[in-house]
């Protein structure tokens, strides 16, 4: 009963606030793991002794502090390990912290759907449900060998342990914000490739600006295209080198978009996500003899300064100005 899983109720696409909120948790314990975009795990083992009360009792303190200082509400689940804390969070509401004591774990898990288990993705969950293993209780009752036949040797063993309440995870302190995302929605079904490209350009520009503002570079870019029937296509591309350079991001985004070869698809939104964020100073940068690239980067730096001074709309690419 020492791990808390906190989810802050942030407005969507407002990840920038997360670092501050993590700082709040770090006032209680140094062992805080960010769960972007809006959550965190905190190991309060040391804090319990310091504050003289249990982790579950500290939860309201965290909540009022987040509300008082940031105006952000949060929901909190508590458990003996990260897995149970995260699962407990599912049943928590603002103001009601759900705590799962270690000895009640089996009982708590038995009725949970398999998809609730951290590490069980939609695919594994589907496989398990297909074979009637829809609750963790049933998974726990199934023979280990059968589980391994279903989902593979290693995953099967882990699943077996987790379903039986064995929580081997630890809270690993890490940095914030492993990804940044931005979305461009269309007011109607949009088929025009030019408009799609403009949306991509503007999204890539925004991501670049935000990354540079955070002094980060990203390794991977993910494009999600949403269609009128609420389905979506997702493509990821690793960048040649980690970068926050808008032109490079735009090029990668265009590349992914072209590969989709969309013609009649009714696009309602385009989302671009920068993933694998690292501090900018750790990034390598392949120098070239091409002066254009150098110039583009310098212009970008100037434009960033202008934006900082006159607002984000002060300088935009010509294609977006019209």
């Amino acid at each position: 009963m020492t791990i808390l899983c906190v989810r802050f109720q942030l407005p969507p696409m407002y990840e920038a606030a997360l670092p501050g909120l993590l700082g709040l948790l770090e006032e209680f314990t140094p062992v805080v793991e960010a769960l972007p975009p809006d959550g965190a795990l905190a190991d309060l083992r040391g804090a319990e002794r310091y504050f003289g009360r249990g982790a579950a009792d500290l939860a309201p303190v965290i909540r009022v502090r987040a509300l008082a200082r940031y105006g952000v509400d949060c929901v909190i689940g508590a458990g003996p390990g990260p897995m149970l804390a995260r699962m407990a969070l599912r049943e928590a509401r603002p103001g009601v912290t759900r705590a799962v004591p270690g000895d009640a774990a089996a009982e708590f898990l038995a009725d949970q759907p398999v998809a609730a288990l951290p590490g069980v993705g939609s695919r594994t969950a589907r496989t398990l449900c297909e074979y009637g293993l829809d609750t963790l209780g049933r998974v726990a009752a199934a023979p280990l060998s059968t589980l391994q036949r279903l989902v593979g040797t290693k995953a099967g063993r882990e699943l077996h342990e987790k379903a039986n309440g064995v929580d081997r995870g630890r809270v690993v302190p890490n940095a914030v914000s492993r990804s940044l995302a931005t979305e461009r929605a269309f007011p109607h079904d949009e088929l025009d490739p030019d408009r799609h490209r403009r949306a991509l350009l503007s999204a890539a520009e925004e991501l670049g600006t935000r990354l540079r503002a955070l002094d980060k570079v990203c390794r991977t870019l993910t494009l999600t295209v949403r269609y009128a029937d609420r389905s979506a296509t997702t493509r990821s591309r690793s960048l040649k080198e980690p970068t926050a350079h808008s032109a490079a991001l735009t090029k990668a985004a265009y590349g992914m978009y072209e590969a989709l070869g969309l013609q009649r698809a009714r696009v309602r939104a385009i989302t671009l996500r920068a993933e694998g964020l690292d501090p900018a100073e750790q990034a390598s940068y392949q120098l070239t003899f091409d002066p254009l690239d150098e110039r583009a980067r310098r212009i970008e730096a100037v434009a960033d300064r202008a934006r900082a001074k006159f607002g984000p709309g002060a300088i935009v690419p010509g294609a977006l100005a019209a």
């Binding site: 074979y131 036949r149 088929l191 025009d192 269609y227 009714r266």
Partner: protein
């Protein structure tokens, strides 16, 4: 000065392109003072006949043509086709419309029409992709060719390349020479594209330079101004894209402009081309001259009004005349059937000679021989065939083997079919097994040759649901919203959309949000009745002499690849093409399958055409009204009528079928008939002379034949004239004249005024309500046969029904009926089930049971089913997997429904093994062999499917609750509510208020006598069927629930009209599935508030405001009756069950 002639006009028959009907175009042309109008639809001549008729009515001279995509001589002109684009991951590729299009106008009479037909047929020949006319076929005498903005030449001009245009023009010039025209079009567009002033001017200038004649057209797409948005929707629907808000949109100019407007257009064009303004008159003059050259007469050249039969040589009349052959075949038939040895042989001979005289009078002998030939060929294939329709009234037809029933014995009249007074093409319809209908078509083509045979087209027109779907998609509405709105509507005409929203209670929800959808409704109504696709007519086959292809354009049907005329049923009749209706009847297939099963299982062949007539157990079954699955008498209304009428012989069946028509039901001919039949009312005749024809129906007029006899007896006019009189009765105008004539003629024969008045009352009331007895006799034969099968070979009967699914009820209801009647339903088993449903002797009970078929498994392909059946028996799961080679999802489904239970282990373990077998098949076999210990499958310790999951799997995979009735699971809850089962309902008293529940099986809103809209629905609760009726006053509260729920709980009042006639009048309805859910989650306390919720208060005033539709036959109908109701047709298995999280898949 005569008006402008539009040389390029498309109608709605240009699929998803033209926005007006040919009739509208012809009407507008007349209003705007035009003398002539051309119809040049895209890729089709389907509108030509309607257009010709409309033009004749409007007094406008029709010109015929077609707008075809032509594969240009130079491959470089193919537009974007060369460059292959990447296949889209989603949404599909753009529809390629880049092929240049050219307009062809028929100029020189019949040859030109034939050429036009040939060109259109050639464009469709490949049968795949959009129709394109290959360049080598693009030649034709007597055609005028218009090269417009969409042609290769026009495109080169638009691109500013007159040099290239000149080069492209050369091959056209070479082929068409003087018949070539350049077409200038101005729609007020900017730039140089189609419809722009600059292109029009360039075209005129280019024509002058090349010494070609230019013409002016408006490339008309719709009749009236303001229809541009509809054209945009059609464009979007054709190209399968939404309307781009930024455009380009339709210019709104492409309507049938009048003379003055076109003169203004011409002036602008010639001025822009640098000519003097009065040159415009020259341009119009050229256009007029081009129109004047086009001389195709609808009567003489297209052939409207003439008749062509296949050459007599093809139907066995090579050396003798067709009439002689017919006479000798009829005589042979007399001998063969033994009629010449009967005591009344004379009657037969006289009838034969009389009929042969009529046939000779019209020269239709080769028609009879043709039909006889087709029937013989079909029978030789071993396909069940039966004649239907008035043709059954002809003894010659009977003797030729076309019709089964003996018309003399049943009192059927030749005059109803054909007489010397009527010059219409007789029509003989034949019913064949539906499953083998295409085989029959191919046999006909094989017999007469592809140049004489074609199937008939059936345009699919926009009705409200499709219109909503297409407009919604064009307007970028949310697909989920579109689907919900479309399904909420009954199948009504698109133009009634807004009226229906105002008047129908179940659409109130949609009406409330109607405003949000803006232009949707207007556009939906704008699409009304426009053709949106073309399909093969389900029964018509054209038979003609070798000139068929010169008279009708033919295209291959998608899928079957049969030749199909572009003309529809009515066009074909107008064209005088001989049409034979070959109707695929599922019941015939079902009975053929049943008979084959009996023979396979017992070894005794069963000839359904030779079963004993008047079998008492068959009639006992019919009288019990448990006639589910029997031909024609299975609907709730018929079951009720059969229960009241209590048929005892074949004639009663004929009457029963005739009475169950909207007409007789509406005229309440049923009640007096039943009263008289059961001796509760005396039999009355208007005059003793009329006792003869009316005796068989207790003095009530039921058949057309009786009216013919009455008129004949009273006036002495002869039966042929009497039939003409009968036909005149439905028309109020001629009715007055007939009345006068009738009174005079009858008085002349000495009947009293009172008798005449009484008889006329009957004749008049009858109108054309009645039913042709020949039809009814033809129907009653399969009715009796199917009832006989149900009485004597129930298992085979159900096997046939389940295989060919002929009825109005879902299959699961047939299965429930089988269970109720004690026919064991044997589960699917890969070692025992065949492709089709089979009968099998059940060892426990010794009764014949039905073994479910592999073909009913969801997603099984025909090849897979064949393979599974061919490999039987299988010794183990591995054996099955390796030899039957099912796909993984299929194998999983088979495991779920227990088809693999024989291999041991539970159903989920089997699935796991199957998954591993599949992985193994891909080369990565796991370390452990899945099948230790011989043939049994080792258990893997997975939880087995529980009962609910098994039922859910059955419904999901087979769409049937095969092991037990799905209502059984709700029994405890229904008992709590005090629901009365269908079985117990039989003892309920008239007027009792009861609760009933069940799965909804069939829902109808038929036209009924009171002119109100009544919703009839049937519930199945496992113990039997409950027939429900919801009247007007309950619609506000119930209609939506009834149409859109699969499981229903209904409160209602019992209505009894006879010992076997019972229905429940619904007062309140709830969705039972919701209630069950509430019960499960919150107990009875959660159910109570739902039941306490008041339904919507009755709206009070009649929203229809007493509006009634007066039918041709004289009775009134509620405007929304007789429509296929909203919601989905019938519950398939999937929908009847909530998928629980632990469901089987």
């Amino acid at each position: 000065m005569p008006g402008f002639t539009h040389l390029r006009t498309v109608s709605g028959f240009s699929l998803r392109y033209g926005a007006s009907h040919p009739e509208r175009l012809a009407g507008r042309a007349e209003e705007r003072g035009m003398d002539a109008l051309a119809l040049t639809d895209r890729d089709t001549l389907a509108g030509a006949v309607r257009f010709a008729k409309a033009c004749e009515k409007a007094g406008v001279r029709p010109l015929f043509g077609a707008d075809l995509a032509v594969d240009p001589p130079e491959p470089g002109e193919r537009g974007g086709r060369g460059a292959r684009r990447r296949t889209p991951v989603r949404g599909g590729a753009f529809i390629d419309e880049s092929t240049p299009r050219v307009t062809f106008l028929a100029r020189d009479g019949a040859t030109a029409w034939a050429e036009l037909c040939r060109l259109v047929s050639a464009a469709h020949r490949s049968g795949e992709g959009p129709p394109v006319l290959p360049w080598e076929d693009c030649r034709g005498d007597g055609l005028t060719v218009l090269l417009g903005p969409a042609s290769d030449v026009g495109r080169a001009l638009a691109a500013g390349r007159p040099d290239r245009a000149a080069r492209l023009l050369a091959p056209w010039r070479e082929r068409y020479g003087d018949a070539l025209r350049l077409e200038a079009v101005w729609h007020g567009r900017t730039g140089t594209g189609p419809g722009s002033l600059r292109l029009a001017a360039r075209t005129v200038g280019f024509a002058a330079e090349q010494r070609l004649r230019p013409v002016l057209t408006n490339a008309v797409r719709y009749a009236d101004p303001g229809q541009g948005p509809v054209a945009d929707v059609l464009d979007a629907a054709r190209r399968l894209v939404p309307i781009a808000p930024a455009g380009p949109h339709d210019s709104g100019e492409r309507w049938l402009k009048g003379e003055a407007a076109m003169l203004a257009v011409a002036e602008r064009i010639v001025e822009a081309a640098g000519f003097r303004r009065d040159t415009a008159y020259r341009l119009l003059e050229q256009t007029r001259a081009a129109a004047a050259e086009c001389l195709v007469d609808p009567q003489d050249d297209i052939g409207i009004g003439s008749v062509r039969f296949p050459e007599p040589g093809l139907v066995g009349a090579g050396r003798r005349t067709a009439q002689r052959v017919l006479a000798s075949r009829a005589a042979a038939g007399m001998v063969l059937r033994g009629y010449d040895r009967r005591p009344d042989a004379r009657t037969y001979w006289e009838r034969v000679h009389h009929e042969l005289d009529i046939v000779a009078h019209h020269g239709y002998a080769s028609y009879f021989l043709t039909v006889a030939q087709v029937v013989d060929d079909v029978r030789d294939l071993g396909i069940r065939v039966a004649a239907r329709g008035s043709g059954a009234g002809s003894l010659v037809n009977h003797l030729l083997g076309i019709a089964h029933a003996d018309p003399v014995e049943h009192g059927l009249l030749m005059e109803r079919f054909l007489s010397t007074r009527r010059r219409v093409l007789p029509d003989i319809d034949i019913d064949v097994e539906s499953a083998r209908r295409l085989e029959v078509y191919r046999a006909i083509i094989g017999r007469f040759g592809a140049e004489r045979v074609a199937t008939v087209a059936m345009p699919e027109t926009y009705r409200v649901r499709h219109a909503i779907r297409d407009v919604g998609a064009a307007l970028s509405m949310d697909p989920a919203d579109i689907d919900r709105i479309a399904k909420a509507f009954p199948h009504i005409r698109a133009r009634d959309a807004r009226a229906a929203m105002e008047e129908l209670p179940e659409l109130r929800g949609i009406a409330a949000e109607a405003e949000e959808h803006g232009k949707l409704w207007e556009l939906v109504e704008g699409l009304d009745a426009l053709p949106r696709g073309v399909a093969m007519h389900p029964c018509g086959v054209l038979l003609s002499d070798a000139s068929l292809l010169a008279r009708t354009p033919v295209m291959p049907t998608s899928g079957e690849g049969l030749p199909m005329s572009q003309f529809d049923k009515e066009d074909v009749e107008d064209l005088g093409l001989l049409k034979l209706d070959v109707l695929g009847v599922r019941m015939q297939s079902a009975m053929a399958h049943a008979a084959a099963e009996v023979e396979r299982a017992t070894g005794t062949p069963l000839d359904l055409d030779a079963i004993p007539p008047d079998d008492s157990s068959t009639y006992r079954l019919i009288r019990s009204a448990e006639t589910l699955g029997c031909f024609q008498i299975e609907s709730p209304g018929q079951r009720d009528l059969v229960g009241r009428l209590q048929p005892a012989d074949f004639h009663d069946l004929v009457v029963d079928i005739s009475l169950f028509r909207p007409g007789p039901v509406a005229a309440d001919m049923v009640r007096p008939f039943i009263e008289a039949r059961h001796g509760r009312a005396p039999i009355r005749y208007p005059h003793p002379d009329l006792a003869e024809p009316l005796r068989e129906t207790y003095g009530v007029v039921v058949f057309h034949e009786q009216i013919i006899d009455i008129v004949h007896l009273m006036t002495g006019c002869g039966r042929d004239e009497a039939d003409r009189v009968r036909r005149g009765l439905s028309d109020p105008e001629s009715q007055g004249r007939i009345r006068f004539w009738f009174a005079q003629a009858a008085a002349a024969k000495g009947y009293s005024a009172e008798t005449i008045a009484r008889t006329w009352e009957i004749v008049e009331a009858f109108g054309s309500y009645g039913f042709c007895k020949a039809h009814a006799v033809a129907f009653a034969v399969p009715t009796y046969q199917s009832a006989w099968l149900k009485a004597h070979h129930p298992a085979a009967f159900y096997a046939g029904l389940l295989t060919h699914d002929p009825g109005m009820y879902p299959k699961r209801l047939l299965l429930a009926d089988a269970r109720r009647r004690g026919v064991p339903v044997l589960p699917l088993d890969v070692n025992r089930s065949a492709v089709a449903h089979r009968i099998e002797l059940e060892s426990d009970s010794g009764a014949w049971g039905v073994r479910l078929a592999l073909s009913d498994v969801h997603g099984i392909s025909a090849a897979e089913a064949e393979r599974v059946a061919a490999g039987q028996p299988y010794t183990s799961l591995l054996d099955f997997w390796e030899r039957a080679r099912p796909s993984r999802p299929l194998a999983a489904r088979l495991a779920q429904v227990g088809a693999l239970d024989a291999f041991g282990a539970n159903r989920r373990d089997l699935q796991l093994h199957l998954t591993e077998l599949q992985r193994g098949a891909r080369g990565a076999r796991g370390p452990q062999l899945p099948l230790p210990g011989g043939h049994r499958t080792a258990p893997a310790g997975l939880p087995d499917l529980d009962d609910a999951e098994r039922l859910s799997a059955e419904l999901g995979v087979l769409s049937m609750d095969a092991s037990r009735n799905l209502m059984d699971d709700h029994q405890a809850f229904l008992d709590e509510l005090g629901v009365v089962s269908a079985r117990r309902l039989r003892t309920a008293r008239h007027g009792d208020t009861v609760l009933v529940a069940g799965a909804r099986a069939a829902t109808q809103t038929p036209p009924i006598r009171s002119g109100k809209r009544v919703i009839f629905t049937t519930l199945d609760d496992g113990t039997g069927l409950v027939d429900l009726a919801f009247f007007d006053d309950s619609h506000d509260a119930c209609a939506h629930t009834v149409f859109h729920s699969w499981l229903l709980l209904v409160r209602g009042v019992v209505q009894r009209r006879g010992p076997r006639s019972l229905s429940v009048v619904g007062a309140a309805a709830w969705n039972l599935a919701d209630l069950v859910e509430l019960r499960r989650e919150g107990g009875l306390d959660a159910v109570a508030p739902r039941l306490a919720e008041p339904g919507e208060p009755p709206a009070g005033a009649d929203p229809v405001h007493g509006r009634r539709i007066r039918m041709e036959t004289g009775y009134e109908m509620h405007p929304w009756a007789d429509l296929q109701p909203p919601g989905e047709r019938a519950a398939t298995g999937r929908k009847l069950w909530h998928q629980s999280p632990g469901s089987a898949g």
